[in-house]
């Protein structure tokens, strides 16, 4: 299946610029967490999710941002697709606007409310299961943070998806190794290995560089397909802006005027 990697890289650079612009409208936002899953979310919306024919994109498949605080990645992509408007993004986190820090079910393009980690995969599992038993040909894509894999509820969902053989469910883990103020590999070493755990719970799982759009895309299209599938993406929190990468303070912060200028100036296409 042909996949225009250059176009994906250009889109993601534009998304990073858009997120940086929005950051100047608000005291703080979850920029770094959006940057780490940007390539993944772009591949899902622009290459994987099937669309109905028509003027404005209407998707046959579904997307759940289980990593709720990363939703700025989702918002800028929905804006680029014309599902959210520029006005929506301009009124982000302002009274009268409909977009907040976490996705709100009922907002165009948002299929479930998330924000508390460990909920999205369970709901996505239920959606995918309902699709199957109701004879609907739909897939559900869901993006999780690595921190979410610390929640027991995530493992309940993983287990049940495997028990029910829900093969129309595709998950992605944004494995940036950052949680709160430290590296998980240092403070919670028993969290690893991740891939083995996912496979032990009955999922087909592969690990790729989460910023390599082509690799993410190919991982999904090459799956065996007889069980739920997860792509573990090795990513960098804050990827795309050198001084944000893996620096904890950028979890929830807006760059000041100087930092913004510096970030915009150094933005380039991310290849990995």
């Amino acid at each position: 299946m042909s996949f225009d990697v250059s176009a994906a890289r250009r889109r993601c650079m534009a998304y990073r610029r858009r997120i940086l612009d929005i950051s100047q409208q608000v005291p703080a936002l979850h920029a770094a967490g959006a940057f780490s899953c940007l390539e993944i979310v772009d591949v899902i919306y622009n290459e994987l999710m099937r669309r109905e024919i028509g003027e404005r994109p209407r998707f046959v498949d579904s997307f759940v941002m289980s990593k709720g605080h990363g939703c700025m990645a989702q918002y800028v992509i929905l804006e680029a697709l014309g599902i959210l408007t520029k006005h929506d993004l301009d009124t982000y986190c302002v009274p009268g606007g409909q977009l907040g820090c976490h996705p709100d079910y009922g907002v165009p393009g948002i299929e479930a409310s998330t924000g508390s980690l460990g909920h999205g995969l369970g709901m996505a599992t239920g959606m995918a299961y309902a699709d199957r038993i109701n004879g609907e040909d739909r897939r559900v894509y869901v993006v999780l943070s690595d921190g979410e894999l610390q929640e027991g509820s995530t493992w309940e969902a993983l287990q049940m998806a495997a028990n029910l053989k829900i093969d129309n469910l595709v998950a992605f883990v944004d494995l940036n190794d950052m949680a709160s103020l430290s590296r998980m590999s240092e403070t919670h070493p028993a969290f690893y290995p991740v891939l083995d755990k996912l496979r032990a719970f009955g999922w087909e799982a592969v690990e790729v560089n989460g910023h390599d759009a082509g690799a993410v895309h190919d991982a999904v299209t090459r799956r065996r397909g007889d069980r739920p599938f997860v792509v573990v993406g090795r990513t960098v929190k804050g990827r795309g802006v050198s001084f944000m990468e893996s620096i904890p303070i950028w979890h929830y912060r807006s760059p000041n005027k100087d930092e913004y200028a510096k970030a915009v100036a150094e933005l380039s296409e991310v290849t990995s």
């Binding site: 079910y105 909920h119 369970g122 709901m123 239920g126 038993i133 109701n134 509820s153 309940e156 969902a157």
Partner: protein, 305 residues
């Protein structure tokens, strides 16, 4: 009541393929087993995993289905509380969270199985509807309402088994959100919900033996509470008695607040579970008595012999 719920949900499931049941390690018996056998895809057992029980219900409801989460009340509601709140209430999804054995029905199993606080907690959740039927027939009505309602999430608090008929000759029909007068009188009004309405009925008889005219009301809908109906009851009776198998922060408290706001002049006596874990193992009546919910104790407190 469990059996009536199962019979009703099976009947509903035959006619409406949106209806689904998600249990957490419950072995289906009776009609629920029939449901599972005839509609195997619409019956899911998550095993001992209550968070995914609710998550699955939410996802299925997002796809237009009508799921019922079903297990013992403490496990349907307390264990996955945040999921009930965030997945169901926050998104206002039409999922029914069924809690078997609300109150201290599981009287030999200890506090881990006693849903003493459930009505209080459920009533605090925005968008949540709370139903607590008093007998099998009312359970059937409540369940049928749950299968077709468009309001949002419901906490359906059920008894266990053996509840006697209280509603077959009720003055009022079952109407969601409204007080249901089982008997209408003019002196004393006894308000109750759930299986303990039987004790309320026996108490009514004691008042009647003394020549009082008694109203007996099933307050099956705890949320949205029929505040208008309650104020009317407070203003039209000399005495109001509340009996509930719940922690002391539920209906009795609301009735007193409403009375204050309405400047009602009636005498109000409320009876509830204690705010305590009571380690009495025995028949449900014995544990209830340890909580102060005993007919003769209540009657004595009310000045009845």
């Amino acid at each position: 009541m469990r059996n009536t719920f199962a019979d009703t949900i099976y009947e509903a499931g035959r006619n409406d393929k949106r209806v689904a049941i998600v249990v957490a390690d419950i072995s289906p018996a009776g009609s629920m087993q029939k449901f599972r056998d005839e509609f195997p895809e619409r019956f899911v057992n998550t095993g001992v995993s209550e968070q995914i029980m609710i998550g699955l219900c939410a996802g299925m409801a997002l796809r237009g289905m009508r799921p019922f989460a079903y297990t013992i009340a403490t496990f349907t509601f307390y264990r996955p509380f945040e999921f009930v709140r965030d997945d169901l209430c926050y998104q206002n999804l039409p999922v029914t969270v069924v809690g078997i054995g609300g109150g201290v029905a599981y009287s030999t199993l200890g506090g881990t199985h006693h849903a003493q606080e459930d009505v209080v907690l459920a009533s605090a959740l925005p968008n949540m509807n709370v139903l607590a039927p008093c007998d099998p027939a009312e359970c059937r009505e409540a369940t049928l309402w749950c299968t077709t309602q468009e309001r949002g999430p419901v906490y359906l608090r059920l008894g266990k088994a053996g509840e006697p008929d209280l509603t077959s000759r009720a003055v009022d029909p079952f109407v969601f959100g409204k007080l249901r007068y089982l008997r209408r009188g003019s002196d004393v009004c006894i308000l109750a919900y759930g299986p303990i309405t039987k004790m309320a009925s026996d108490l009514a008889a004691k008042f009647e033996a003394r020549g009082e005219s008694v109203s007996l009301v099933s307050v099956h809908t705890l949320k949205p509470l029929d505040t208008e109906g309650l104020v009317a009851a407070l203003q039209s009776h000399r005495r109001v008695v509340v009996i509930e198998e719940t922690a002391p922060y539920a209906l009795g408290l609301r009735v007193k607040a409403l009375a204050w706001e309405a400047q009602a002049r009636c005498r109000i006596d409320t009876f509830s579970l204690k705010d305590a874990f009571i380690h009495t193992y025995g028949a449900p009546g014995e544990l209830l008595a340890a909580h102060g919910l005993d007919l003769s104790v209540i009657a004595a407190k009310l000045g009845l012999s």
